[in-house]
């Protein structure tokens, strides 16, 4: 009795945020997806620390091209070792392999995994923006580290194998997740602001203002985005640096994908603005801004949240599709789309299946985003009193 009344007390005095988070965490699929997502974000942020090799061409392993994944193990036929190790693989080609390069596993030569080793240098908070014009260039040195979680003293350790050039796929996958998330975040932010402004104004005022906004929204949204991307990215010259290209692609994603949300915001506002509580607020003399922020925005928060989180994987997929055609981000930059492009060749499908590991991460990332979005939607719904 004592406990339940305390619980009730807690429920009635809880803030909106507390209620939402309680409801969100009581949803099992959302909880799992949320932790997966958090894990991915953390891993991608610390990709420099976690990956033993530079994901760019500088970190290529010339002795191990198109190499299969090497998983550390604790025992083999020669016995058990507390420290995980991998076997040495040597390049070999001869008449018996039809003169193709193959890797021979030498189980006698163990290479032990070492922890907190020094390796390639990675930076945080280091930016060098290279805009046209000398005065606009600026450079922040940031912090440089060279410690890595694990490594081996001789040769290489490639958890996910290597690609055609000998680049470590593990490191590439981690940094690709980071880049893809960054592109998506920037794109979602731009599209969010644009859709709220344009959809909100049109839906709230109605009449000819709505007509103009609607016309503009319609015009942008009716053009199929991928062909539009294709046109616009054909416009970007090849001489652009990869950073500039990154920002260009991210802003394209944002500037093209806002109309979905804007149209939904408008439709909702159109039906909502004729409700009594809006009339009441207007009769009380509330200003338009006040009504929009205090009454109308909360009435469709669930919509906005769902659409934002839903549009995030869509951003990732747009980027993937673009890079897949070869018009998005390009090779020196790692993104999930770039890695996916490498994976979709018949040769790869038959011989080098580990190229698909990044694709697996893309799928997991998108799935977890969608589940989190769904959980948030259910949790933020004020009509659901449980």
């Amino acid at each position: 009795m004592e406990i339940s009344s305390k619980k009730k007390e807690a429920y009635f005095t809880a803030t909106q945020m507390q209620l939402v988070s309680t409801r969100f965490f009581s949803n099992r699929s959302a909880r799992i997806a949320g932790s997966v997502l958090l894990f991915m974000i953390i891993v991608s942020v610390f990709s420099g620390f976690l990956s033993p090799y530079d994901p760019t061409i500088a970190g290529r392993d010339k002795e191990y091209e198109n190499g299969s994944p090497q998983m550390p193990m604790f025992w083999d036929e020669n016995g058990f070792s507390l420290r995980p190790f991998i076997h040495t693989k040597t390049k070999y080609r001869g008449a018996d392999t039809n003169f193709r390069w193959v890797y021979k596993i030498d189980t006698e030569k163990r290479r032990y995994v070492q922890f907190f080793v020094k390796g390639w240098k990675y930076k945080y908070f280091a930016y060098s923006i290279n805009l046209p014009g000398k005065n606009l260039d600026f450079r922040i040195p940031g912090f440089t580290f060279d410690r890595h979680l694990f490594g081996v003293d001789t040769g290489g350790i490639h958890l996910f194998g290597t690609d055609k050039a000998g680049k470590d796929l593990f490191g590439r996958t981690l940094s690709a997740i980071y880049i893809s998330l960054a592109v998506g975040t920037l794109g979602v932010f731009i599209s969010f602001v644009l859709s709220l402004i344009i959809g909100g104004i049109g839906g709230y005022y109605g009449g000819w203002i709505d007509g103009v906004c609607q016309m503009f929204t319609d015009a942008v949204r009716t053009i199929p985005p991928v062909p539009l991307f294709m046109c616009l990215s054909a416009f970007a010259p090849d001489t652009w640096s990869s950073e500039l290209r990154f920002f260009f692609i991210a802003s394209l994603l944002g500037f093209i994908s806002w109309p979905t949300l804007a149209r939904r915001v408008r439709t909702h506002l159109l039906t909502e603005r004729s409700q009594e509580y809006i009339l009441a607020a207007q009769l009380c003399g509330a200003s338009s801004t006040h009504i929009i922020i205090r009454h109308l925005l909360p009435s469709f928060t669930s919509y906005i949240i769902v659409d934002l989180v839903i549009s995030f994987p869509y951003m990732l997929l747009s980027e993937t599709a673009l890079s897949f055609i070869g018009l998005g981000l390009r090779e020196p930059v790692n993104s999930l789309g770039v890695l996916l492009q490498n994976a979709t060749k018949a040769d790869v499908l038959l011989n080098y299946q580990w190229y698909f590991l990044p694709v697996l991460f893309l799928i997991i990332l998108i799935l977890s985003f969608v589940f989190v979005g769904d959980g948030l939607r259910d949790a933020a719904d004020p009509h659901k009193n449980k």
């Binding site: 949204r221 009716t222 053009i223 199929p224 046109c231 416009f235 869509y314 979709t344």
Partner: protein, 337 residues
């Protein structure tokens, strides 16, 4: 009634204005692509062995009317499309675009619209089941399957199905026709052959759209289901399917209809990539050919214009439908009472 006609007319005029804006955007994009049509054609001729100099390019530009100012060129381009339904000649191939597209565009349209219907045919019942079921596990499984539709890029699915087909049937199932019907005139056998292959692109395109549609339907039904008017209806003793169809399902129909145009847009957007993988011989493949490979701006512009015009038409129809169906909007349209 007069109000309604007025509303329809206004919407029609708005649609036409949208079309004008879009055509301006498309035409400007065609201009933005580095290089002009004349340069591209002569560069192509250069690779074929003929010697080209600046004079030739100038002459070719004059012939194509590229030396005239932008508004004039835009006007001519638009006039030719609307009055004569003529998209001009392709930059590289030097054939009439009408000739090049012919029934390919309608084929793409048929594939996309079928994919759209397919997706809603699955999404509406499954979405309602997912929203109203008592069993959380069923809801979760249904959700998971639909989410897989979002998470798996459709070109990946296409690729996997193709690989599967090659291994187990010995036929890749790519293209829209098998070899003997590739250039044959339309006949019953060709239609049958077409139908035996076209399900793959429809499935791949629809699979992705289904996931989005399912989410929309589910979210809407859940939103409506908890509202007071539904509770009131329940209190009056209406229950089960009757309650569902008369109240929440009916109300969620509005936003669903509203999003039809955009769903079609999404399918159009996925079309080129899927076409690239499945080696389809329709407009989507032609578009990717025009944009990514040969930079044929005239052809690309024509295809984007056609796709966009279709979506504008669908949006117009859904707007009018919505005004007829949703009493809340109908009131707003036809005045106070």
């Amino acid at each position: 009634m007069i109000n309604f006609i007025q509303f329809t007319l206004t919407r029609a005029i708005l649609a036409i204005i949208t079309l004008l804006i879009v055509s301006l955007i498309v035409f400007s994009l065609m201009e933005l692509v580095p290089g002009t049509c004349a340069e591209r054609y002569l560069a192509f001729k250069n690779t074929q062995g003929s010697n080209i100099n600046v004079e030739d390019i100038k002459a070719e530009e004059r012939r194509l009317g590229l030396d005239r100012p932008f508004p004039v060129r835009f006007g001519t381009w638009l006039k030719n499309i609307i009055v004569d339904r003529d998209f001009g000649d392709s930059c590289i191939l030097r054939v009439s675009i009408n000739e090049l597209l012919k029934d390919r565009f309608y084929m793409s349209l048929a594939i996309c619209i079928t994919a759209l219907l397919f997706s809603y045919l699955i999404a509406i019942p499954v979405g309602i089941i997912s929203a109203t079921t008592k069993y959380a596990s069923l809801d979760n499984v249904l959700k998971f399957i639909s989410y897989l539709g979002i998470a798996l890029p459709n070109f990946l699915i296409a690729l996997c199905i193709m690989l599967f087909m090659t291994i187990y049937y010995g036929d890749t199932m790519t293209g829209l026709f098998s070899e003997e019907f590739q250039r044959a005139p339309w006949s019953a056998a060709r239609v049958r052959d077409f139908l035996s292959r076209v399900w793959l692109p429809i499935f791949v395109l629809g699979w992705n759209a289904t996931a989005f549609a399912l989410q929309t339907v589910r979210a809407l039904i859940l939103d409506e289901n908890d509202k007071l008017y539904v509770m009131a209806a329940r209190a009056r003793g209406i229950s089960g399917m009757k309650l569902l169809w008369r109240y929440p399902a009916k109300h969620s129909l509005g936003p669903v209809i509203n999003s039809l145009g955009f769903d079609l847009n999404r399918i159009f957007s996925a079309l080129p990539v899927v076409a690239l993988i499945l080696i389809l011989t329709e407009a989507g493949a032609l578009l990717i050919e025009a944009l990514a490979r040969s930079n044929d701006q005239q052809l690309a512009g024509a295809i984007i214009f056609l796709l966009t015009a279709t979506i504008i038409f669908v949006n117009f129809v859904t707007d009018v439908l919505l005004a007829i169906m949703d009493p809340r909007i109908r009131k707003g349209v036809m005045g106070g009472n």
